[in-house]
Symmetry: C2
Subunit: 358 residues, 2 copies
């Protein structure tokens, strides 16, 4: 079923002729598994994503043995609209999201599998831009697409391009990151200002006429998390990327799942002025908005300084901060201390305030 | 980003109350990553697919170490229309396709990751039927869904339900299945009649008024392939599942990729009467039509008898047959000897004769 149906020498051979055919738009036939699928592969996909494993074009990619390290598996579908937004696009989002889901599980990325669902008529320029973005983001995170599949549906049966990425990672035998390890005294850290991704996408979609410096924070965090784990090791007890549901969702889940009380300090949680402005225009709370380049780290109190230092030395963590802590009583609730001195319980957002944000 | 955002005890607790809420149709908000996403998980997904790994609801599922065995990774998206067809549905298709892509790489299935893209308004009964089918097919193949993700798009932005499944498998250190191992004298075997899947789907879609006994052959082949490899071992040199592009596509690719001449004997390739009848009505060649429960095995000549015997003892291989062989000259072509004594070159099908067949 894979789009991978030829061996390397053949593909290199087909590459030039297909390139010469200058694909204009995606046709239903490109998803049929026949010669036209091969042409899409050879002319559009392999020139951008090709590598020794992908080029083998087998039904499954076979990777080197991991020995005592444990395999981690994750999957996410991406349907973000518009497909390109200030600061990123659906390709960068897919690779970053998958790398980040591995990273917060304590896994180093090993390989990515790419499933494309394309609408008939999708401009080749869009497909190529997304593939270029996937390649660039993969290179940034030091991980490659090793296998994939393409399906094409009718033009009214999808909105341009949907991507599903699965990630394989490797977790050291002794690593354990889980809400059950969290206990009173632990500190909550985040690597920068919140709300940029969701608000950049919503602003681009709902108010395209508004000029703003707001950019999505979408980025792969494998390197940042690696630096954190190297600096603090087992004193990191839990990691989570605050995507859909935002920091509010992560903190409310953490309180519930650990059973302890989680306190957030609003004044410690940075929000860029442009992000706050967009949130006000759109009637949204940045605390509940998706981030795609942020990680919430829970660390033992004695390690908080070292953790902050490690995060702060990474380009993606220069505005890192301690934003809260875990305390008694064991009530499973999250509470926000507001900057005007009030307190309120933070709930996980109910439903879809931001459709098709990722 | 995953739909997996709570820890096990919480989920068990939510399970009953959500069940009581009686989901009627999928809403945009079910894909938002908030409380409604949790309800979809607890009320619809975990009761059907739950297992100790999935129930942990982490961003990535962490699996036991594989030691010296190599991890295999595969991914496929499924957009079949109609979602339910004679002999199967999109859920059975997704799990079977992924298990089979692992099996033909010589990998035993370890875990499945499930990405759902749902259209707003999808009846809950459809979602539940598909999830039940995923669970049943997984049980048949002895593999479970360990992680997943759900996105919801507008009702006019997808056609009901699209599924992407990724599979993690494990390959013994010494196993090598590749077209480069194929050489003259090798025999081509298949485990039964061809064309059933594609023609069952097309008949259901294009001529729903026609009564037929035709059924898709969709099935997970992990057990069958396991029996074959146990019986014949290293004398199996290549496996491929003839899905899109059919047996014609596999044989043409095999000739091209091995560099040898591949001969098929038409009279040895079984086609059920109902399948042939449907092919004639729809103007299709069963040789080019997708199968979803078939494997083409290339084995050394001395092992062909043992291979046929092993396949024939499995419920999914009772009509197994030798359908061709590999010979000189090294022209990279596939030739069909027709039942009336003619010969023709078999090409890989060009494009999409069968849209949305898988």
């Amino acid at each position: 079923m894979n789009f991978l149906q030829a061996s390397e020498p053949i593909v290199s051979q087909r590459l030039e002729s297909a390139h010469a055919s200058r694909l204009d738009r995606v046709l239903l036939a490109h998803g049929g598994g026949g010669q036209l699928s091969d042409e899409l592969l050879a002319g559009s996909i392999l020139p951008r994503l090709g590598n020794p494993l992908l080029n083998q074009l087998l039904d499954s990619a076979i990777l080197p043995a991991l020995g005592a390290e444990r395999p981690a598996l994750t999957i996410d579908s991406y349907v973000v609209q518009p497909w390109r937004f200030p600061g990123g696009d659906i390709g960068r989002l897919a690779v970053s999201g998958t790398v980040n889901d591995l990273a917060v599980a304590g896994a180093a990325p090993v390989a990515i599998a790419l499933g494309l669902i394309l609408a008939e008529g999708l401009p080749a320029s869009t497909l190529h831009a997304v593939l270029d973005s996937i390649a660039a983001t993969g290179a940034e995170a030091n991980v490659a697409v090793v296998t994939g599949d393409t399906k094409v549906v009718g033009r009214d049966q999808a909105d341009g391009i949907y991507i599903t990425t699965a990630g394989l990672g490797r977790v050291p035998a002794d690593r354990q990151l889980a809400p059950q390890r969290v206990r009173p005294g632990d500190q909550l850290l985040i690597n920068g200002p919140i709300g940029d991704h969701g608000l950049a996408v919503m602003l681009a979609r709902e108010m395209p006429e508004v000029q703003s410096v707001l950019r999505s924070d979408v980025a792969p965090l494998a390197g940042l998390v690696d630096d954190l784990l190297a600096a603090v090791g087992d004193d990191v007890v839990f990691l989570r990327d605050p995507t859909r549901g935002g920091v509010a969702g992560v903190a409310a889940d953490l309180a519930r799942d650990s059973g302890w009380h989680v306190t957030l300090w609003e004044e410690a949680i940075a929000v860029r002025p442009a992000t706050r402005h967009a949130a006000e225009m759109l009637g949204l709370d940045p605390l509940e908005v998706a981030n795609e380049g942020k990680v919430v780290a829970v660390v033992r109190p004695a390690a908080a300084g070292r953790a902050l230092n490690a995060l702060g030395q990474h380009p993606l963590g220069q505005q890192s901060a301690v934003i809260g802590c875990v305390t008694d009583p064991p009530d499973g609730l999250c509470e926000l201390h507001t900057h005007i001195g009030g307190r309120r319980i933070v709930h996980k957002p109910y439903g879809e305030q931001l459709p098709r944000i990722c």
